[in-house]
């Protein structure tokens, strides 16, 4: 297997914990992993991304080539569009539709929605709302991970193990809440794919 993912969001939103969970799951499976992150200045509310590559064969580059990503996984709708040049022809965008507006010239929501609608393979819904409803507002990133899970070619149980590993130190209640959010996102995409 081989999967190239661009994780996107705004500094502080929590995309790196998605990468950490998938990394832990892939390591357990004895897969090769490369994951380039952004640290430093941009983490202060700027756009952040992480290139995550998982493969059963050795991986050369830490960066995904343009047109090479199988998935764009984003916690913010405009940020998902930033990485369109990296998406392969058959790739999917999985994104939260709740905007994070911290710039004065954020585009009209209709134009963002229209641009997403113009893409052939998209899973887009308000993950903040879903997180609030099923678990807690702070678990949007786990809803996103769940929504992306059907495209990952990693067993769902292995990802849930990863969630256990990462949040285990914070107690059972926190793990359970994150698993709940994860499963809600997963179910959303599974239903969407069934209806396609």
């Amino acid at each position: 297997m081989k999967i190239d993912i661009v994780l996107a969001g705004v500094g502080g939103q929590g995309i790196l914990s998605i990468a950490t969970i998938l990394g832990a799951a892939a390591l357990k499976e004895n897969l090769y992993i490369k994951q380039a992150e952004v640290h430093g200045m941009s983490q202060r509310g700027g756009d952040v991304q992480s290139n995550l590559r998982i493969s059963s064969e050795p991986i050369a580059s830490d960066l995904i080539p343009q047109g090479g990503a199988d998935l764009i996984v984003s916690l913010e709708p405009m940020e998902s569009l930033r990485y369109i040049p990296y998406l392969s022809k058959s790739g999917w965008i999985v994104t939260n539709t709740a905007p994070f507006i911290n710039i004065p010239n954020y585009p009209e929501m209709e134009t963002v929605t229209a641009a997403l609608d113009a893409c052939p393979n998209v899973v887009a819904f308000n993950m903040d709302d879903m997180a609030k409803e099923v678990a807690s507002p702070r678990t949007s990133n786990m809803v996103l991970l769940g929504a992306a899970a059907p495209f990952l070619n990693i067993e769902i149980e292995k990802i849930e193990d990863g969630i256990n590993t990462i949040f285990g130190a914070k107690g059972e209640a926190i793990v359970e809440m994150n698993i709940k959010a994860f499963r809600a996102g997963l179910e959303y995409t599974q239903n969407l794919l069934k209806s396609r």
Binding site: L27, I33, A36, H39, G40, A60, L63, Q66, M78
Partner: protein
């Protein structure tokens, strides 16, 4: 026995050093090098052994402390971002003259594309003019392996070894096979040749000749290095020389193997024999280099009358910014992968000061006072508060290097500028601001130095700041008039008081220091949640 771990390039290097019997790491935080020291600070073995990992005040103090540890026969590492090399340069260049005793690896983490930096300087140049060997890992495993290799190389030749990282390796995770049993630390032992550790001209003249002679053995070591590889290819129309991480971008484009001969360079000085072999066997050479055209300039020379060489200087690769699989693909002449063009909907999202950050309140009050002046100038410095240049504050006129706010404000005041204001963070102040403040105190320069003290080194993620709790004492101790060393809490409710304080001190015809203090919102949150537990 060994096991597999998923590690950042920085972490792999740190663990490699611990497992190689490191006794101390010395560093000042700087992106993308910070995580090396942070890893050692929390590592179990390092804590049990008491491996030194306390932050240093700046890169120069770090460099010299590491050299002192090496003098005593122990293995030491010093880590900094590329511009930190400029601060450490005096100690670094002269450490080539003293040589090393215990293994000494100097890590410089370069930042091509300037993700978090003010320039793209390439640390390999430092290794050449100091005359020390340099290493450049291409992946996380090599970063791990090179820690031990570098320390051994350093002990073998009794010379410090430069290890160059780049952002994309420092901040990228990969699977690394690591040893489970760390090697023992060195025992105390002292240099056999004691004269070269006293750099008086008479000793230095002798030592410098030896160092120049040693360069040949460094070249030989590069030619035999396990990290420099000549991989033959059938198509000799060109040979490709790649350095460090650039090797990965090349191989990304040739998953079945590169048809051209490839020389992967990960140890310097350049392996002369291998370069010559390529020049003899190939019709031309393409140099794919992460960083400035260091190899390319060396091979081409000013006269450029040898084999045809392509690279950054001929426009095959961009002269600025980091390499990517795509730019390398174009340089080797492969057709681009089809992809969508950039979306027109997307707007830039620059970083900003956090909500609830005290720097915001300092800039808010400062800007309101500055409206009262015709031509105020504010000299900024390096840290989160550099973001005060951006909207909505637009509060800074110049930012150059660590500590330059105070000295530039002084120079401007000497030229007749008023108000001439410096704004500097607490950690940057103790890094490089104190000596400049002494200059200003000694001349009673008509400047106001605002130390925006958030009790941490914020931009790099909240490391301990060396001046915490001592800032007023330091300023007074340097000789600042106690009545003009003023402190205020940089809170929204103090806006008017802060304005008055700023105005009063701008109008005072002499040197004043205002310490505007409020804990960093990020570290405050972390401390609060740690307390809850």
């Amino acid at each position: 026995m060994s096991s597999k771990k998923l590690l950042l390039g920085d972490e792999a290097l740190a663990l490699g050093a611990i497992n190689a019997g490191l006794s101390g790491v010395y560093a000042y935080p700087g992106t993308p090098s910070t995580e090396i020291t942070e890893f050692i600070q929390v590592n179990k073995v390092a804590r049990e052994r008491g491996i030194h990992s306390h932050w240093s005040s700046n890169e120069k103090t770090a460099m010299e402390s590491a050299l002192g540890m090496s003098f005593c026969g122990k293995r030491a590492m010093v880590c900094m971002k590329h511009v930190g090399m400029n601060v450490a340069a005096d100690g670094f260049v002269n450490s080539a003259m003293t040589g090393a005793n215990g293994g000494l690896v100097v890590v410089a983490a370069d930042d091509p594309s300037m993700h978090s930096s003010q320039n793209e300087q390439d640390s390999r140049f430092y290794s050449h003019f100091a005359l020390v060997p340099a290493l450049e890992p291409s992946n996380q495993q090599e970063a791990y392996d090179m820690a031990a290799y570098g320390l051994e190389l350093s002990e073998k030749f009794r010379i410090p070894v430069l290890l160059r990282m780049v952002t994309r390796l420092a901040h990228s995770r990969g699977v690394v096979e690591v040893a489970d049993e760390p090697a023992k630390e060195n025992e105390l032992s002292y240099p056999q040749n004691t004269r070269q550790w006293v750099l008086m001209p008479g000793n230095s003249k002798v030592r410098y000749k030896q160092l120049i002679q040693d360069w040949d053995s460094f070249i030989e070591a590069s030619e035999n290095s396990p990290f420099n590889k000549y991989i033959d290819g059938a198509d000799k129309s060109k040979g490709i020389i790649v350095n460090g991480i650039a090797y990965n971008y090349l191989m990304e484009n040739y998953p079945e193997g590169c048809p051209f001969p490839v020389l992967k360079v990960s140890q310097y000085p350049l392996p002369t024999k291998l370069v010559k072999k390529m020049a003899e066997e190939c019709e031309s050479i393409l140099i794919v280099e992460e960083g400035q055209p260091f190899i390319e300039e060396k091979l081409r020379g000013l006269l450029d009358n040898g084999i045809k060489i392509y690279g950054k200087l001929t426009g095959e690769l961009p002269r600025t910014g980091e390499l990517t699989p795509d730019s390398v693909r174009q340089a080797v002449g492969l057709a681009p992968i089809e992809h969508e063009v950039a979306s027109q909907v997307v707007m830039p999202r620059p970083p900003a000061l956090c909500q609830g950050c005290g720097h915001r309140d300092v800039y808010g009050a400062l800007n309101d006072v500055m409206k009262e002046y015709e031509n105020p100038k504010v000299f900024g410095d390096i840290g989160c508060y550099t973001l005060g240049w951006l909207a909505p504050f637009n509060a800074i006129d110049a930012v150059v290097d660590m500590g330059a706010s105070i000295t530039m404000a002084k120079g401007a005041a000497d030229a007749g500028q008023h108000p001439s204001v410096a704004i500097i963070g607490d950690s940057t102040f103790t890094h490089s601001g104190m000596t400049g403040l002494l200059d200003a105190i000694n001349e009673n320069s008509h400047i106001t130095v605002i130390i925006s003290d958030n009790l941490t080194t914020g931009m790099t993620g909240g490391q301990d700041s060396q001046g915490t709790g001592k800032i007023e004492d330091i300023c007074r101790g340097l000789g600042a008039a106690p009545e003009h060393v003023r402190t205020i809490d940089s809170l929204p409710k103090n806006h008017d008081d802060m304005m008055k304080l700023f105005r009063d001190e701008f109008e005072y015809k002499g040197l004043s220091v205002i310490i505007a203090r409020r804990e960093c919102i990020q570290t405050a949150r972390r401390h609060a949640s740690a307390k809850k537990k």
